[in-house]
Symmetry: C2
Subunit: 577 residues, 2 copies
Amino acid sequence: MDWPGRERMNRLLAVARGEEPADLVLVNGRVADLFGRRLMETEVAVSQGRIVGFGDYRARKRINLQGGILAPSFIDGHIHIESTLLTPPELARVIVPWGTGGLAADPHEIANVAGVEGISYMLEAAKGLPLDILFLAPPCVPACPLETSGAVLEAAQLEPLARNPRIAGLAEVMNFPGTAAGDPGLLDKIELFRDKVIDGHAPLLSGKQLNAYILTGPGSDHECSTLEEGREKLSKGQWIMVRQGSTCRNMEALAPLITTATSRRMMLVTDDSHPDDLLERGHLNYNLARAVGLGVAPLTALQMATLNPAEYFRLEGRGAVAPGYRANLVVLEDLENFRPLMVFHAGELAAREGEYLSGGDGAPPAPPEGLTRTMNAAPFGLEDLAIPARSGKCRVIGLNPGEVLTDQLLMKPTVKEGRVAADPGRDLAKLVVIERHKASGNLGLGLIRGFGLKCGAIASSVAHDAHNLIGAGVFDPDLLLALKRIEEMGGGLAVAVDGDIKAELELPLAGLMSLAGGREVAAGLKRLHRAARDLGCPSDPFMALSFLALAVIPSLKLTDRGLVDVTRMELVKLFKV
Amino acid sequence: MDWPGRERMNRLLAVARGEEPADLVLVNGRVADLFGRRLMETEVAVSQGRIVGFGDYRARKRINLQGGILAPSFIDGHIHIESTLLTPPELARVIVPWGTGGLAADPHEIANVAGVEGISYMLEAAKGLPLDILFLAPPCVPACPLETSGAVLEAAQLEPLARNPRIAGLAEVMNFPGTAAGDPGLLDKIELFRDKVIDGHAPLLSGKQLNAYILTGPGSDHECSTLEEGREKLSKGQWIMVRQGSTCRNMEALAPLITTATSRRMMLVTDDSHPDDLLERGHLNYNLARAVGLGVAPLTALQMATLNPAEYFRLEGRGAVAPGYRANLVVLEDLENFRPLMVFHAGELAAREGEYLSGGDGAPPAPPEGLTRTMNAAPFGLEDLAIPARSGKCRVIGLNPGEVLTDQLLMKPTVKEGRVAADPGRDLAKLVVIERHKASGNLGLGLIRGFGLKCGAIASSVAHDAHNLIGAGVFDPDLLLALKRIEEMGGGLAVAVDGDIKAELELPLAGLMSLAGGREVAAGLKRLHRAARDLGCPSDPFMALSFLALAVIPSLKLTDRGLVDVTRMELVKLFKV
């Protein structure tokens, strides 16, 4: 249990018995009873940040909930904070007003750039917020052996994290082929965390390989993109994290799997979200409304964003409204839109009607210099972006809107002056990934179809998971310009066309995060999206771009070392002979 | 996770991938998928006692399940093994063929007689069986301060148990008034087990006192006897153990609370069962059939006897059929009668068609002498059973069939020769409890109504929880005879009438358990029941008798120190002036 210490327990008991007044009583609300599955009309007493009981209690303060629904605040079971481009304090400012009270964060983005130093910064930056952030230790840094990251985490580096009580477990075990094959280094890492939570990541894995993968320990999966995939993993004992973020949107496909009878091991998670989405549509409140819109029973949806993640992550006294539970609460207007009217954290009002009320100034702690000077690419120029033509067809990365899974296409390239050229007419753009941690000079080149670029280029220092420099363009000089600008900014995002930078956003923290606030970052991102749209790109091309180097998600990806056939986990040449 | 060690893991992986043959493949069964809530037609491969996967696998041995349903074997979340009158090996012989694979046992009966030595014997006797027995450390020995037990367990005695990995947590915290009041000794014990499971026991507790009780930690309750009681405790976050044993039968009252939406924190348990019931109707298979008969969905019922207790007791890799889970399995004829066709424990066939197939001879380990010489009452005679008459009404214990809750009645006694007399015409019998551990000479006398005795007496050394000598009779010389016979036997049960012992059963182990097998003990018990029925008693009067000294269940009980008003937790006189 979540033991508060003897003295606090004695005081809580005096309040519970009605002998001492509570700190706070919430009246005129309907309590979402996630165990008995009903709405209860009862007053709720809070003391020392905990719920002490239901009933008629005296209190120092009473708050009228005006008929709103009192629910546990939401817990996102799988998020990469870095993908929001915000530091933890700035992220809290954005998502706490939406009703979020807890996150299980995998800091593998910053870990790929800066190793344990990066993780330590995130732990530090997460302190003292009205948002409980659990961290998990990333086992796959780098995500795969066919790329160059800024840091490598072996079992020896993870060992102190396994003993750290603030680390809830092992983050997504992404190298599923290696894991199923019994790779000793991966099993070393899993064994370190055998008494904690172990997250899985095995897109499209099934049958015997999935049996083997699950045997090693991963207890969850957030990569299910089809109903059948979700059903198989659920039946094999994995907790299914139904993901709906800025790019990956699996909820519609998985909604038929979610019933009151099957949902106890399912959660709503976001994985990767951009700050503009978080500011505009919200965080899990959006996912909840979407789930209910797709036919999920409201209290089932609510369990998936509260009680279920609390059970999965073994969070005692979290995820429900009951005696002894932490008073991490949200007051909802209804169970249809899930609009939060008030948010409490440990019994303190943390937001009201969208306004963040946290006491502190919320500024992120100053990052150490090692985390703000992370751009270290070898010199590169226009000639490095050229692809000499050969005979035969090219392997082309085929994009799928709303998914991070890519197709492997075979297409005859457009050739100009002996070189493979981008061809907006065929929606073919050039993709480049430049190693930016160790000045190795590694540079991968490829082609993508479905990105929409008609002219110019976009580039970024956010490129999962090694976060090398990535750019896509249909005109090499613009591509070079955008890449160079990011190098100059010390990390960020940029759009270039006709020899000009049209929009940019500085991301000085590990080349991944801004130190500014959510509104500023979202505004910058909007400018970038507008500029990219002018070039023909669909919505949020930076999120899509950032996944094109992630060689643990099928089928064809590009890293600094070249094209990767993910299914076979091997480098392949652009030209298939 | 349930980590098997590296070498075993590598071998399991080779089997899961299909590279090595499995030890066993179960074919032609329908797998009860308790996560996806369906029956799956798939083969199941087992290796090293674990399920390695679903699918088409090679194996050294194949067993045809003939269309039976493959489910996890059952786990009883709350049982007192001592109440079965059998040692753990003999109990396994009875209940494993019924499909039981796990128990969470509270050894507080033997602990009241023999303290930690008694618990240690139970731990020893539970080893090597095809039945996983978890033990919990009893916090309330004695159950209440108003009785005399053979041993007292303070926090100092429990501390080594809290560190023992075979002890899953703290057993039922029965002193609920003391707990809600913040009794320091009780909180000391709870704090020792704060990282483990803590079981509750709070019959009829509600409102603010229940809030306070729950705050201290008890996470379950098996005492709910009404729908409203179950609903309140469930909504306040307790796991509800729906009890159906030989005497306490709460299932019918609680069945309306059990729905697919509410059942995740509910379990089926037996608490106290006699061996004849276990042999004749079964164990949890009976409770499952009963639940389904009362309208509970079959897979919901099955979860309540498998997955739910596994989750509550934090048993990783137990309670479901999935890769990595222990192959503790039962093959059921159907999901209506739940008749077990085969039972597997750690992948080995442990029973088939009711026949127990365990390799060992199953004999219990020889108990140390301290556990077989536990009858130590001060001398007592006929005169000690006399109750001098006074004016006014008597407090009478009113029995309720099928419940352990008693009523407190006020009745004018029948008086003969200046003494209060039993009166079969009014269904009034005399009740006596004699301290039998320390020869203190304590002797409590009272009256019960509703026991049915027309003549003679019955007596027992099983009397929850202090297990003093208890007897009920309508003729003092027969009552004395029965009590004396139990003393001579070193513990047991007896029926006496007309100056003769009509039936008896020896319980030499702590005065609680036989060292004989289940069939022999059940036969002896049947003889006793028949003899008692000849005296007018309803079925299983010994179980009913054994609860009449349990002063933690309302309302009126009798201990060696006298009548106890349980609600006020104080001694009261027989005559109310």
